[in-house]
Assembly symmetry: C3
């Protein structure tokens, strides 16, 4: 980070509602990791895994929880949630590339598309008939906005984002490069000669403040829309099938996948590589750990997992072979229990 405008520690405390301890007059001009930060940089300690770095930090100030304050050799800003406080402060030091309003001359805009004059349309973008790009929206190079799709106000699309068919984005939606929204859902029916494609007549509706990761795909619905409510956060390479409905504030980590017509509640967290089978319902407040496969509906909030644990390969081979004998093992235990019961009774 190059130096930028500075803020005094007491100014940061006031602005973000934090308690400062130590020399509050220091100037902070950037952020850095705890083990590398210099005297004009702010660091944070949120994950206890990194608490040992605190003793040696050269940071100008550290954002941390009260329980770690006494261990800091430098001034601190005390927060109930240090990661959250850091997130807000770090925004001060982020330089987002400025987007010039207007349409790049190499972009192709259909005559009846509506592009707000304050929107920024990058090189090579294609905006098709009937599409709308609202005020302050920014489209990176090579975005394709299909017929009748809508990009909401202040939304930002990275390079080559494709909105294919009947996609509506809310306000302040952030989409990273390579994402594809509104392609055909995977609907096929079998007849005697082969597969018959099922027309995908629905769309995709993305709520305000959603974030969608690089190369993520969200298919449009078969009849109804595929829906993300407000503030849903999707990491990279996530697959959302047709007619899925995801509740507000739910977050999915990289490579998670949700099959058709599944409904996921609000405030859920789905781990990386996890899968949700089709037509299931997941309640509000459910956490699914990484690479878990959800095979039935989940009605209660809580944490859910599947999978067998990692082991050194030879041990794993021995144990995995036994997994195929588990039902037999259970029956052998039951038989033993009966025999031992008989023996024990006879003894008495």
């Amino acid at each position: 980070m190059e130096p930028s405008t500075g803020y005094r520690i007491d100014e940061l405390a006031r602005r973000f509602g934090l308690e400062a301890r130590g020399d509050e007059s220091r100037m902070i001009r950037g952020v850095a990791p705890l083990d590398r930060a210099g005297a004009e940089q702010l660091a944070f300690l949120a994950n206890p895994r990194y608490a040992t770095d605190l003793a040696h930090t050269g940071a100008g100030v550290v954002v941390l929880h009260a329980e770690h304050a006494d261990a800091s050799p430098v001034p601190v800003l005390i927060a109930r949630d240090p990661y959250l406080a850091y997130a807000r402060i770090a925004k001060l030091f982020e330089k987002l590339p400025a987007a010039t309003p207007g349409v790049h001359p190499s972009a192709e805009i259909a005559v009846d598309a509506r592009v707000d004059p304050s929107a920024s349309i990058g090189p090579g973008c294609v905006i098709e008939a009937g599409a709308t790009v609202a005020a302050g929206a920014v489209l990176g190079p090579h975005c394709v906005i299909g017929t009748d799709c809508t990009v909401g106000a202040q939304s930002r699309l990275g390079a080559r984002v494709a909105l294919v068919t009947r996609v509506t984005l809310g306000k302040r939606v952030l989409i990273h490069p390579g994402a594809v929204l509104g392609a055909d859902g995977f609907g096929i029916a079998r007849d005697e000669d082969g597969w018959v494609k099922v027309p995908q007549l629905g769309g995709v509706r993305i709520g305000d403040d959603c974030e969608i990761g690089a190369n993520t795909t969200i298919d449009r619905g078969a009849l109804e829309d595929t829906v993300l409510e407000t503030d849903v956060r999707l990491d990279n390479q996530i697959q959302i099938a047709h007619n899925v409905h995801i509740g507000a504030h739910t977050a999915l980590a990289g490579c998670a996948a949700v099959a058709g017509s599944a409904t996921i509640g609000r405030d859920c967290q789905i781990g990386g590589g996890a899968g949700v089978l089709g037509h299931l319902e997941i309640a509000d407040g459910v956490t699914i750990t990484a690479m878990t496969l959800v095979t039935h509906s989940i009605r209660e909030p809580g944490v859910y997992s599947s999978g067998a644990p990692i082991e050194e390969n030879r041990a794993w081979r021995r144990n995995a072979a036994r997994m195929r004998q588990l039902d037999a093992m259970a029956r052998r235990i039951a038989a033993l229990e009966k025999q031992v019961e008989v023996l024990t009774k006879e003894r008495s």
Copy 2:
């Protein structure tokens, strides 16, 4: 769905070989889900999960199996396979964007590329030397057709599909945005200094009527071609490695992956997120459930699965810890059986 040309119920019955019951003179002008359809819309009931919606439907007509006909409050069209019948009928109400024949002025076409005059080449497409685009093919914006690649007649490519090297598409192939076909297979050999890349000298051949999902990748072969026979259906974000061969009518759900030189038979169904290891063979008619890892060849048709079931996290932790003790548990059971046998013999 906006209203469109209508069809009488008896006309639909005749056209699709279905039995109508109820007022056959009603006009149908669109399709909709069972629980939302109005008097001029057709709905269908295929998944018994949704049978309870039938009693309250306001649809103009419902396509369903004979066993549900009596429960319908509205006219019905009886089909042996309601989902298949629906797929065919719904095509009547699908408005596909019309593609104008010709080459967009911003497309780059190599002088010796052959583009049929009836093909439609979108903005920013790049068609390299020796490539062929046959009659009626439609290329969305920013497609790249590499040297000597071929797009078969009536094939449709969404935005920014890349055919890299030695890719041949059959007729009526449908490819969704972001798919990459014919990139280098992942072939590396190790020497003392590091990895040596193995040249990937084969190509990719895609049969007629295949469908390939958004952001799916199909690598070209190392020596021979990677092959999809006719009517193979791939969902989004699928990875097909070099030299894989997939038989006709096989379908793979989202995020499935097939490693190098694996051969998958005809009429297989591979679930979402499933993996097939390299050099294996899977017979015709095999179904693999979601997130299963296929670690050996499968010679018989049937359904195959792997994985441990989902549980509430604390229960899962207790059980998963025991998976590491399974071999020891099996030995303890065997030891117990011996001891109990001795005790039982002595008793008699």
Copy 3:
């Protein structure tokens, strides 16, 4: 493969340090699989799975290990590592598309970007302010090189590769189409109203000779950089989260994913679809098998696995149900052991 310049077998032996046996004067003009090669083609035998093809081969020469030499009906080139020797020889017969130096007229180059005159910039590329493209680099169509990003000398980017923010590529880096490097890491903190985005202020550094597969994503760091050391090899659709560090010569197969701040050592091999949780450390020389989830740090080289084995679905259902009873089963075994011990003691 069409015929090309030929090489005598003895010339190949000399050039690649191999021992030739049989008629060394034969001319070789291409490469082909063992079971299909003709008299002017070289084949190889590396995987013993294909040893039965040797007896019937019509190849002009076969590269193989000494132990198979006597079984060959045709001349041979004996190598300690036949696959490696083949990789080197096959390069002779690879025709890479020639890239013309210069900037395609449809590319958009910012006035202060530095593009070496020997670099080749394809149609529709966008090179933003402050970016650098070094000597001999080749950018396929529609690549986007973001502000201040650097493409090292002799690097080759396929179609529509995006380097988003603060990405630096070393020399001879090869990136396949659709890859996205330097998009925002997935950093979010929760407040009472919803998610707060954590600014992603780091970058991505890719070492010399790395290869990155199609549609792979590598996020930029939150504070520090995401790093691939030299000669790291990533297959397609891999997800590398922010702040990950991967050591030299490590290879990841398709669809593997590494969560934030994980550190992977040198000379590791990560199987397809495998996952590594965040903040873990994996030692040098570790192999992880396909679809394994790494849930704790690995300190010792070796092979590690997780997962339950594939079975016919009905057997799997029976066994999987028992996985939920494993802890109870273990307790029942322990109880039986106590009872049997008592019975055995009493007997004596």
